[in-house]
Symmetry: C2
Subunit: 256 residues, 2 copies
């Protein structure tokens, strides 16, 4: 911890980190918690565009807490296709919750430049054991991750292409707004159309056609990579989107 390039022990600095902000939204932290987190997030690194952070099948012993930038968690299949499981955003932890496995089950690649904090897996485990509140919050994050994945199963398996796209756009808007990275009705899409296809299980050209349809129906507008939601109510109905599964805080328990 000594010799960290960027000292972050002052709570005025650490609690502006998106990961800490996310923790605070789901559970109350005291000074000792913040100090522990501050120590954990002392080793800052930068990942350039298209940098592989985790490669499927390999062992890994470090996690990366995202401060800024985006990454994709994906799997390459032997029929040559790619399935993107999730878009990783600031405040997320790369390698969690899959870090309980000995070998990586997915690959993670940066899209665009990222600022990360490198955290040895063992330090992370120690923190959980020492700070019950943080461990509890992480159990909640893991449950939320599972809920997001389950929603993606319904998307890929049973929704019509245009419904998947509507759902995906609203999910991105909602998640980006939660971290303060989007305006009320618009956001910058970090993925190409082919990338979107790899999330929702469509080919690139078909994503393009579905986008055109949403535009012609007046539900969205685009300007380069920027997507603007023009008719949120109609999009929600079309994509059957219920934002509750993305909630930031668990239900309140009197005893917890």
């Amino acid at each position: 911890m000594i010799g960290a390039s960027v000292p972050m022990s002052a709570s005025g600095v650490i609690d502006r980190h998106p990961f800490v902000a996310k923790l605070i939204q789901s559970i109350q932290l005291d000074e000792a918690d913040l100090a522990a987190l501050s120590g954990l997030l002392s080793h800052k690194i930068v990942a350039r565009k298209a940098k592989d952070i985790i490669v499927e099948g390999y062992e890994y012993k470090v996690l990366h807490v995202v401060e800024s930038g985006y990454a994709i968690r994906y799997k390459l299949l032997h029929n040559g296709k790619r399935q993107i499981m999730n878009v990783i955003m600031p405040g997320d932890i790369i390698g969690f919750p899959a870090c309980f496995y000995e070998h990586a089950v997915f690959s993670v690649t940066a899209i665009g430049e990222m600022n990360l904090h490198r955290v040895p897996l063992d330090d992370f485990a120690d923190l959980c054991l020492a700070r019950a509140r943080i461990a509890t919050a992480l159990l909640w994050f893991a449950a939320r991750e599972a809920a997001i994945y389950a929603e993606h199963i319904a998307d890929a398996g049973r929704r019509a292409p245009i419904e998947r796209l509507a759902h995906f756009i609203l999910e991105m808007l909602t998640r980006l707004r939660a971290i303060g990275a989007a305006a009320e009705h618009s956001f910058v899409m970090p993925l190409s159309q082919e990338g979107i296809g790899d999330v929702i299980g469509l080919s690139g050209p078909h994503v393009n056609r579905m986008l055109a349809e949403l535009k012609s129906e007046g539900l969205i507008a685009t300007n380069g990579p920027e997507v603007t939601v023009l008719d949120r109510a109609a999009l929600q109905i079309l994509g059957e989107f219920h934002p509750s599964y993305l909630a930031r805080a668990p239900i309140h328990r009197t005893k917890a």
Copy 2:
């Protein structure tokens, strides 16, 4: 706890419960842990076939630990289709890890008769806070649940129909064997062909065609609801199935 119909405090009884067996496989439990679990699992109930245990959108305050029988966790979509997220087996907890949400995000229905233990959510939360080892094991279960879901995303989104079916058959065989509910190469499929279709995102008739193809290739055989894997190696390659994501134990940590 007093007045429970079936006393289970003797560890010789409690540790034969599939849920406890699953816990023991991932973490070591002491006498106090077993006693706490014994108290938790004192209220036994039976669910008949097609009984709705959780209905999407409703609040729920109890979990159900499965002792025997199967259930499906699913979502009904407004286009009339059904997506099954997961098949729930003995040792699983109905309502976990989604129990952190105030309202149910999925429905759960019994297929066939089930023996369950009713556990109030608050008692469960208290157990986690009091027994750190059990809480840690549950964090691992939540992570594993997320990994299974992620595998299903790849299935539904990017694999060819016959690959999905191969993968699903191997996943069922592996999970059933882990709880001692399957022979080495065969098991009784709890779902109808239409049900299988709702898991892997195909229509009933197409599941039938794909099953016929697997049979004609000599990879599997069926006899009523019983499925026998004849060529596991070929099926694994076809379905790109790597059993590691179903591992029962987390990686070993010296400090934990």
